[in-house]
Symmetry: C2
Subunit: 471 residues, 2 copies
Amino acid sequence: MKVQSRKPFEAIVGTENIKYSQAQLLAYSYDATANFQAKPDLVLSPRNSEEISEIVKICAKEQIPLVSRGSGTNLAAGTVPSQGGIILLFNKMNRILELDENNLTITVQPGVITQDINAYVEQKGLFYPPDPSSMKISTIGGNVSENSGGLRGLKYGVTKDYVRALTFVLPDGEIMKVGGKLAKDVAGYDLLSLLVGSEGTLGIITEITLKLIPLPASKMTGVAYFNSLEDAAKTVSAIISQKIIPATLEFMDKGTINAVEDFMSMGLPREAEAMLLMEQDGDPEQVERDIQQMIAIAKMEGATSTALASSIEEAELLKAGRRAALSALARKRPTTILEDATVPRSEIAKMVRAIQEIAEKYKVQINTFGHAGDGNLHPTCLTDVRDAEEMHRVEQAFEEIFLAAIELGGTITGEHGVGEMKAPYLEWKIGKSGIELMKHIKQSIDPGNIMNPGKVFAKETKMRLVIRGGH
Amino acid sequence: MKVQSRKPFEAIVGTENIKYSQAQLLAYSYDATANFQAKPDLVLSPRNSEEISEIVKICAKEQIPLVSRGSGTNLAAGTVPSQGGIILLFNKMNRILELDENNLTITVQPGVITQDINAYVEQKGLFYPPDPSSMKISTIGGNVSENSGGLRGLKYGVTKDYVRALTFVLPDGEIMKVGGKLAKDVAGYDLLSLLVGSEGTLGIITEITLKLIPLPASKMTGVAYFNSLEDAAKTVSAIISQKIIPATLEFMDKGTINAVEDFMSMGLPREAEAMLLMEQDGDPEQVERDIQQMIAIAKMEGATSTALASSIEEAELLKAGRRAALSALARKRPTTILEDATVPRSEIAKMVRAIQEIAEKYKVQINTFGHAGDGNLHPTCLTDVRDAEEMHRVEQAFEEIFLAAIELGGTITGEHGVGEMKAPYLEWKIGKSGIELMKHIKQSIDPGNIMNPGKVFAKETKMRLVIRGGH
């Protein structure tokens, strides 16, 4: 249903927290995903759980879709209001509520920028490890809704590993709290984990308590360049089988290296086929030992050159280069499509090779970078949405990439979420019965389907047109 | 419904894998929980997922309850077949299937004893951290179904933090697989976390893939004794606020210390009011530094004596003493009731004091030990089920203990599960809407209610008769 009157909503949030001009609605009609757009009827900035509860109650009665939106960095069209309705913003719910140094938790509102949490707790010698590449602009509410990953996933896990308690508004408007400042809690089903990563389809998160850990005493950063993808992949495997779990182990292919070099002029070797960026954190002795051993392993596996960052500035520059990969690539052509096919760590070389072959087959430009340590790759296609014929080939290529990932024991999305874009492919990963089970859960919690409708579940599963094998 | 004929089940599992004599049924009529008993109709030992699927299909048609049982160490009557039906044993599904050293995973059948997994991977320099006190006899299938904790929960988390993939049989007999050897996977709702800790009420787990980490290079164990509970609790808080996260930080009160000393004659000081057992693992330099610092903190907070284990044997003896706490207490009287009220770490002193006051109020004998580092306490009542009047007081005391835990921001169960015993109290923790939400999920997945019926959800929530406050 469409919003019939903005008046009741204006009464709840106040005139200063409602947007409805065409220009404003257009501004919230898209997120960071290419080629998806739909205008909402209204954009609201509620100030607390109670206001959200009031809004939800009206929406439940009038069957108005509700889409929660942080900073709109979603890469799977998860925050596009594809069926209209109301966009909820969290710019008025962006406070850090409590740092509990006894229980090592921080409680925040969903609108806090993730990096602000990291910076805030680091001042106190504490550490919130999840670090999605978008952390400078993305909100913690978005991170929780998407179960965001990041560069430190291998060693420290992902967002869900740090969520201890949530307050959320159910689709009937009830305000509920799950979890607590508890390391152990098995009182019933794990609703906390169900909500994390549910992409706004089960309720609206209004308060978040996160687990913190002590800040590692030191860190060191190294880099290795390779003549072949296989050597880089073998290095990753060898590091892990030497029982080293680095804080980050990032990969960039030749195209990405060159794009970053074009963008930042850091002095990266343009002829290298692959680059590994390695970071370890922890106690100084262990960090030094691990990083030296990783460099030695890289050399043994055929690295053409290696280097240790000699200062914090140098280390930050290297990491900034990796974090800029997407922006650097995005400058090359009008449209950038960033994917996150993920495979078991042992299959990285095969997956990168498969991506290259698929790109050649469909004559599209795909560069790959990503989190080598946890098998979470970001094949990134540079294209132009205005060219329908090319876009068709891009779509085919990505379908084949998803299949390749699944065939290698992987998944269609490691950290970006399903949203609207990947919904037609979800069944490829979880099967018909997986879809059924998830739909049962969705229907039982949100029978009116007002919470981010059209996301996660597709009207139709994509036919598997492409036949694969041989990778 | 009752089982009408054992023939179809015998045809599935074979005559050697079915039990139905009265003596056999009696043997599976109870678990480690006092005062709960009910006989099953049949006990089956299926050999694979397909056999379980066949069994489930018959049970779905004939509405026969199915109760999965590992070693029956459950402490909340979770494996008592309270509505009859079939007990599924996993003694024929007890193989380690694969150790994947590239992806640091192990894949096992549910019937493997947890300690066998720990021992097996340690030979390879790898580590499966969850260590429930029952690990010598409990199965990994039981651990996963209960989301078991253990002594290392504070630093390393609990079972759910290590489950990467599950194969399970749905209530309609379908065999489904969720997850993968993936550090990151956000393809749809987190079914994996929903199944872990669901106490056999959503499906039957038939294969488990666990994440492993490198085995820490060294460990050290220390102990501190205190004249007061407060000093021990302050030590716990001070250790954490010094940014040390120990591998274990265990607590025993005076009664437990004395029971262990009666049992093992280890030379524990009988006059001490509290004991803290501390262990750190990791790289040698860091372990040495942390353990020395913890001992120093204990002294500063008023420890009457402290000691460092000077050998592995001495450390093992200290830990054996703590692990024997339950057995040592259980010798004292005919019936032992072990609870696991859990509070935020900062509230431990208040909680232990509340337990003591409640025990005095109801004139029952309750000793407390547990995982101080994660606030997971085990108040243990020594009683006699044959004394109805005393048992009534015990029940009232535990009700008041649950309330005290909830009032302190805690939970009714940290690691034992809800089962049948705590089902009447679940609403106290999660509220009416929490119960409704979980029931919706249960009904949507198991509409016939054949999977461990009568567990987690109670026919009736216990009235809150006791009025608390002041703790």
